[in-house]
Symmetry: C2
Subunit: 407 residues, 2 copies
């Protein structure tokens, strides 16, 4: 019998009506003869409410007690969804994290799953029950409640799918799949039927906030086919995220990701000697500022220009730190620009096809889009351009790589 | 080191301010050098909110899932109270029912505690921590969450005090102790410093709703001194409920209890033969109607009059059933009265003193209060009187037995 893990986020179980909708969908799957394990988040708004209570009591709430508090959110949902299923004549049983025994390490508020006991779940499935599991939570060897941090319910779902060797892990969300790019920027953006784990990781880390990176990594590691689909659309088949299949002709490019929140900082005329990068970036990292792209060019006069990007919100802080460093290093000048964006093309097809980069640069040049920085990885090419070119660049590349057509 | 179990109900932890007040009080106790285990209920209103959610989903909610749902209420409180204690520099750790391992039977929504594992609690106390335990909940041998039913948090507190051999179990509530009678009826009612378990049981079952009967029984069985006191009054010492101490001169009467919600039904002229009581009461009990007092008088003509009382809300239903039974038995007539109340005097002093009953009846007769039924037990005498005499009867007896004076 085919086994599916369903995951429904906070919006999908946000009120009683929506919980009933989820029950309907799960019941139908069960009626089709599928074995179903359902992972749910807290009803939307509940977690924020609990966090607010904690902060009203303690300035920096104890992480252990925070987890005791927050884990109640999903516990409410599993009970209500199990009731909704039973009300439809669909046998169901709920489990909290400690009841399934989702064993985690003791890093409260950001624990990592170490092991899952599947004996009870398999027994329930064999008895024809739908198993409803609280996402986001685990338990330590010592019996303390933990939570898995942001996107934790996705991780729970993928981990369960992995240990149960589920046919697919269905992530129900408020979008109907992964798109070639953001439809608000390029209306001809097309929903992808398939995408690889690697591509999804690049898309996710570049701002397509459909799935949490950690759960995609996890799914890739354990080869769990992930399907993203809408909990509000009865008929959609969403987007399947899996490994590249041999023999399947892949498109060159799967999608175009972008990030509006970038700012760029450049140190000009730095003496070009070993260790210079860490001297420049060390103080930035020490201030907990995350660095994204890094580009270094050797100039002719034994000095170098060093450029990197940070989140726009941290631009001012980074600039202050950099100006101090600059004096110490005897660099000529520090320049910055907070009106830039990053646009990336992503695709495993790049691996086996040459000329993708030049095709990208050509297309942008023809439209007069000036490229300020370039950075490449195995399946991604990113360019930094002036903010005003974002929409133009995305649309130009979408058309150049023929993304509106299925391949 | 003296060990106290504190129990705070829903009103005492109803919002963040009140949780902070509880933390203050516990912290002070800890600073006095006391070991403290705190048992808390859900914040007031929370349980009702969860019950409403369940009923919105399922007509008759699954008891197992109901317990999963309801147990989140106390889990929120233990986390918040532990945070509030830590914020005051008082080391604290929270435990749910399954974490302490409050082992119960599997009677969901009304489970009974079977065993408690105290190893972890003793270790925490030895390390100077306050231990905060979720009331009202337990876990079965199989790992299912259970709840203990009405007044369950009191039961948790008493059970913990028993297994930990605590010096006292302090029940904080919204009244400052147990009174000789309801001060709204008799303004001269006096708070008792002490009362015995047996007296408290009679007072509780007669409508003094300070403590749940089950927790008093439990405390008596394991000889746990219980103290009822107000969570809003810093200095009160409340009422201590314990066993009668040898050598202590006891008052004849400790208090006067009453119950407004009674109704009386009488079958007249029933043929007086064996088994008649069960023939009359069987159908009533089968309809799940609880019977309170039962009185039977033998009349002269080989027939008997049979009278019993039920909760007023079930009077009509009981009357219908009784009329049917009456025809079958060939009884003469069924009569009923739903304008009656029960007034009782309670005191272990009765055991060793004669003449209490006649003193009671005399006092009532002098005020013209007509007694309709009488029922006695070892430490209690109850009379049924017309509803209109309730206040008069209570005040008359309060004065007759000199209850406004400490003895």
């Amino acid at each position: 019998m085919a086994l599916y893990v369903h995951k429904y986020g906070g919006t999908s179980v946000g009120d009683i009506d929506r919980i009933n909708n989820v029950a309907e969908r799960v019941h139908k799957a069960r009626d089709r003869g599928e074995d179903v394990v359902v992972v749910v988040s807290a009803m939307s708004g509940e977690t924020n409410k609990l966090v607010a209570l904690a902060h009203a009591v303690q300035e920096r709430p104890s992480p252990r007690e925070m987890d005791v508090l927050l884990s109640t959110g999903e516990q409410v949902t599993i009970a209500l969804l199990s009731m909704a299923l039973q009300e439809r004549g669909c046998p169901a049983v709920s489990y909290t994290g400690w009841q399934v025994r989702i064993l985690s390490d003791a890093s409260h508020t950001k624990a990592r799953i170490e092991d899952i006991d599947t004996a009870e779940i398999r027994k329930d499935l064999a008895e024809g029950k739908v198993v409803v599991v609280a996402g986001f939570q685990g338990v330590t060897e010592e019996g303390d409640i933990t939570t898995l941090g942001r996107g934790g319910s996705d991780t729970t779902a993928v981990a369960l799918a992995a240990v149960l060797k589920a046919d697919e892990c269905l992530i129900f969300t408020d979008v109907d799949g992964v798109y070639t790019t953001d439809p608000r920027v390029e209306p001809r953006a097309r929903k992808l039927d398939r995408i690889t784990f690697e591509e999804m990781l690049e898309m996710a880390s570049l701002g397509s906030k459909v799935l949490q990176i950690r759960s995609v990594e996890f799914a890739g590691k354990y080869n769990v086919p992930l399907r993203v689909l809408s909990s509000f659309d009865e008929d959609g088949s969403g987007t399947l995220i899996s490994y590249e299949e041999a023999g399947v002709e892949k498109a060159l490019i799967s999608g175009i990701a972008f990030n509006r929140d970038e700012a760029k900082l450049t140190v000009q005329g730095v003496p070009d000697r070993p260790g210079i990068a860490s001297k420049i970036l060390g103080p930035i990292a020490d201030a907990n500022i995350e660095i994204d792209m890094i580009v270094q060019n050797v100039a002719e006069d034994q000095t170098t220009d060093f450029t990197f990007t940070v989140n726009r919100g941290e631009y001012k802080k980074a600039m202050e730190i950099l100006e101090n460093t600059c004096k110490e290093l005897g660099a000529k000048k520090v320049r910055g620009d907070e009106k830039i964006v990053k646009v990336s093309i992503v695709g495993v097809g790049m691996r086996s096809h040459a000329g993708i980069a030049s095709k990208m640069f050509d297309a942008l040049a023809k439209e007069g889009v000036n490229i300020r920085m370039i950075s490449t990885s195995e399946i991604k090419i990113s360019v930094v351009v002036d903010e005003k070119y974002l929409e133009l660049a995305v649309r130009t590349l979408h058309e150049a790589f023929d993304l509106e057509q299925p391949h």
